[in-house]
């Protein structure tokens, strides 16, 4: 009988929720009581909403416990490990019976995330035990030609998972068809979309899957060197990648004549990003690797013909690479079984915002947005009203509630005006102001614009100024039309994807929430009660206790009232700073 295992999830989210302390407490308890079990570490399994997670595997089955902070450690270990009695109230998933959280995992198909949360990401042996490097070995052992590898990827139908959605097999073929003494394969691990953390989990949880995908890609296109461009904000991912690269070199998966394939010499190194969203764009990324300002370049020539150091280069996203070994081992038909006609396979989404169960989900393309949010995600926090879901980051758009039955695939999402993007899905409820969201995104893209193209550089600034005016009660008749005019001009005249898509959040919010724009502009009201300058603050005469805290803190002395008497806000002097609202302990300030 094998030993009981106690596995603690130590991805960045887990650690932020206190999993590090949980691990230390379990270790201390094990030593103090001399308990007989294997204590192991793993990465994020995607159930971020109930971190810290501890999995116990014993002879009766697998039990995943959620919310196990250091205070619950004794309970779990004592009852389950020592007494052999699982603690139902903390269980979030098990195969043995249904728990309320089972719905989060049940509809998922884990291809990209196949190993995340199920192995120690710093162990190449555990990766190999889960079919790791079997794809590469198969290619070497059966002497599969590079053209055959490319055909398999083409047949799978996989499209770039970074957001572009370009058929990966076709991209590889372009690079393969350009002969050169030097060729590069680059992994775009810049994951700059705010709200997206899919790539982080794969890099932290299963770095070898990315390496194996890159090595197979390098073989297919004839690359001589590989670069992983990883954002510096992911220090754990960089650490794990470095460990994995060293291990791969030791095991001859990187180096000269890899696995006996003659003249297949390939190595990978890491380049850290330096904090520029635009470097997620492939030509800007290349400029950054070359040590320059990350400013995009004209295409053609495309990187497949002339990329890094002017040599043929193929760039793919982390998620795309992680799919490759699975496709080779299981065959392209197995992959194409999932998804829709033009969008094959699965997609990883980062569910965040006003949702009950936030985290990472990997679902087959073709599932509806409604199912993702309500079935897997458990619906809206505090059971508030679902308003919109933002997809595609700053390049994407807001899809309103009445389009929630849109299926998740490239073409269907594009038709709404949003884009699939890298996979960020931020859920919004009735308390989210859509103009504020549009302003937020434009503020972001404005700061991140590299400045090369006039319309992107200045146009986004003008759009932002208009949005700021609207949110401060200075909206004017004609503003919506002006925003649209600017938006289309910026889209038409920008060199790169940043400028071409920066206006999307504004265009989609105008399309679907025009009434909210009109309320701000013509009635000077913010229906979601977010835009401070458009709110009216009044004292709730039934709740006010006359404690005088609001009056004492009002910066313009606009509140009248003696101690123990109901207070009153003089609207003509109120600057709508919100100070009284945040200070009142009796919920006695009403917002209109």
């Amino acid at each position: 009988m094998s030993k009981t295992q106690v596995i603690v999830g130590l991805g960045s989210c887990g650690v932020a929720a206190g999993a590090g302390k949980t691990y230390e407490k379990i270790k201390a308890l094990q030593e103090a009581e001399n308990l007989d079990f294997m204590l192991k570490k793993t990465s994020c399994v995607g159930m971020c909403f109930c971190e810290p997670l501890v999995e116990i595997v014993d002879s009766s089955g697998t039990y995943l416990y959620g919310g196990i902070d250091e205070n619950k450690v004794f309970d779990i270990i004592n009852k389950h490990v020592v007494q052999g009695s699982p603690v139902k109230e903390y269980l979030v998933h098990t195969d043995l019976f249904k728990t309320p959280e089972n719905e989060f995992l049940d509809d998922q198909v884990k291809i990209v995330l196949r190993n995340c949360g199920h192995m120690d990401p710093e162990s190449i042996e555990e990766y190999e035990a889960r079919q790791g490097y079997a794809a590469l070995r198969q290619i070497a052992g059966e002497k599969i030609s590079s053209e055959t590898v490319i055909q398999k990827i083409l047949d799978s139908g996989i499209r770039g998972r970074g957001g572009g959605g370009f058929p990966t097999g076709m991209k590889w073929r372009f690079a393969a068809n350009n002969p050169s003494d030097e060729k590069f394969i680059i992994c775009n691990a810049d994951e700059g979309d705010p709200g997206a953390f899919m790539d982080r989990s794969v890099l932290e949880g299963d770095p070898h899957s990315v390496l194996e995908g890159m090595i197979i890609g390098a073989y297919a296109i004839g690359a001589t060197d590989g670069v992983i461009y990883c954002r510096a904000e992911y220090p754990l991912a960089i650490k794990r990648l470095n460990i994995a690269i060293d291990q791969a070199r030791e095991n001859q998966y990187l180096g000269k004549n890899i696995l006996g394939i003659e003249n297949f010499n390939f190595d990978i190194h890491i380049k850290e990003g330096a904090g520029a969203f635009v470097c997620g764009e492939e030509t800007a990324l290349i400029a950054s690797v070359e040590g320059e300002r990350g400013m995009p370049r004209k295409r053609p020539p495309f990187p497949a013909a002339s990329g890094l150091w002017r040599k043929p280069t193929n760039i793919n996203n982390v998620e795309t690479f992680a799919n490759i070994p699975w496709i080779i081992i299981n065959g392209p038909e197995a992959y194409a079984k999932y998804g829709t006609e033009k969008s094959k396979g699965t997609k990883v989404f980062a569910l965040a915002g006003k949702i009950k169960r936030s985290g990472l989900v990997e679902v087959p393309m073709g599932i509806t947005i409604r199912d993702v949010i309500f079935k897997l995600g458990g619906g809206i926090q505090d059971d508030k009203k679902f308003k919109a879901v933002q997809m595609g980051g700053p390049s994407g758009g807001c899809i309103p509630e009445y389009l929630a039955d849109t299926i998740v695939d490239y073409d269907s999402v594009n038709a709404t005006g949003a884009i699939m993007g890298s996979g960020g899905m931020v859920v919004m409820d009735e308390t989210t102001c859509m103009i504020d969201v549009a302003k937020f995104f434009l503020d972001f893209t404005q700061k991140e614009s590299c400045g090369k193209c006039t319309f992107c550089r200045i146009g986004t600034k003008r759009m932002l100024e208009i949005l700021i005016r609207i949110t401060e009660g200075e909206g004017r008749d004609g503003d919506i039309e002006l925003l649209e005019e600017l938006a289309y001009q910026i889209k038409d005249t920008s060199l790169c994807g940043l400028g071409q898509t920066a206006p999307n959040p504004v265009l989609t919010t105008i399309r679907y929430f025009r009434d909210e724009y009109e309320a701000h502009i013509y009635h000077k009201k913010c229906p979601a009660k977010v835009c401070k300058k458009l709110l009216t603050y009044e004292v709730d005469t039934e709740k006010c206790t006359g404690c005088t805290v609001c009056a004492k803190n009002c910066p313009t002395n606009a509140i009248d009232g003696d101690r123990k008497q109901i207070h009153f806000i003089r609207q003509e002097d109120c600057i709508r700073c919100g100070e009284c609202y945040s200070r009142c302990k009796f919920d006695a300030i009403k917002l209109f």
Partner: protein, 160 residues
């Protein structure tokens, strides 16, 4: 005047290598916490990279700082998920408590406050990072409490 000899190993590692500009700047910042003017000049002299190009690259990327920072850098996340969960109130509360604005450093040089685009911990929104430690599900009050505790620890260390 910063000790410029600390740059020597870095320069030895990257001199003459293609695409070395950003790793050199990152290395310099890791040593001093920011990139002093004198460091730019030494790097330029020793590696042959032009000063104007170096400034061009350093000012392009958000990571590089040209001014000294505090011992603890507080990064408040303002990504989409955090924004929707009221990240503004976290920055407001910290600004209020430390009496500094975003990008500024406290007078005792203990804390620098920064807003960052996304830390990738969206399920724990709103989030902040101090050094390598991440704190999630914050309120303005909770954030200020964490910072006060660091300040107390620092003054205890000073007394020792």
């Amino acid at each position: 005047m910063p000790d410029l000899s600390l740059l020597d190993p870095l320069i030895r590692k990257y001199k003459g290598r293609k695409g070395n500009m950003i790793p050199l700047l990152q290395g310099a910042q890791n040593i001093y916490g920011y990139i002093p003017k004198e460091a730019f000049e030494k790097l330029s002299q020793d590696t042959g990279l032009s000063l104007s190009e170096m400034y061009g690259v350093a000012t392009f990327y958000a990571q590089f700082r040209m001014n000294p920072v505090g011992k603890h850098i507080i990064k408040v996340c303002h990504g989409t998920a955090c924004h929707v969960q009221n990240a503004n109130s976290i920055t407001d509360a910290i600004q209020d408590a430390l009496k500094i604005k975003d990008t500024e450093t406290t007078e005792d040089r203990l804390f620098t406050l920064e807003s960052v685009a996304c830390l990738g911990c969206c399920s724990l929104a709103p989030v902040m990072m101090i050094g390598d430690d991440t704190y999630g599900k914050l309120t303005g009050k909770a954030a200020v409490k964490i910072i006060k505790e660091i300040r107390i620890r620092e003054s205890q260390n000073d007394e020792k």
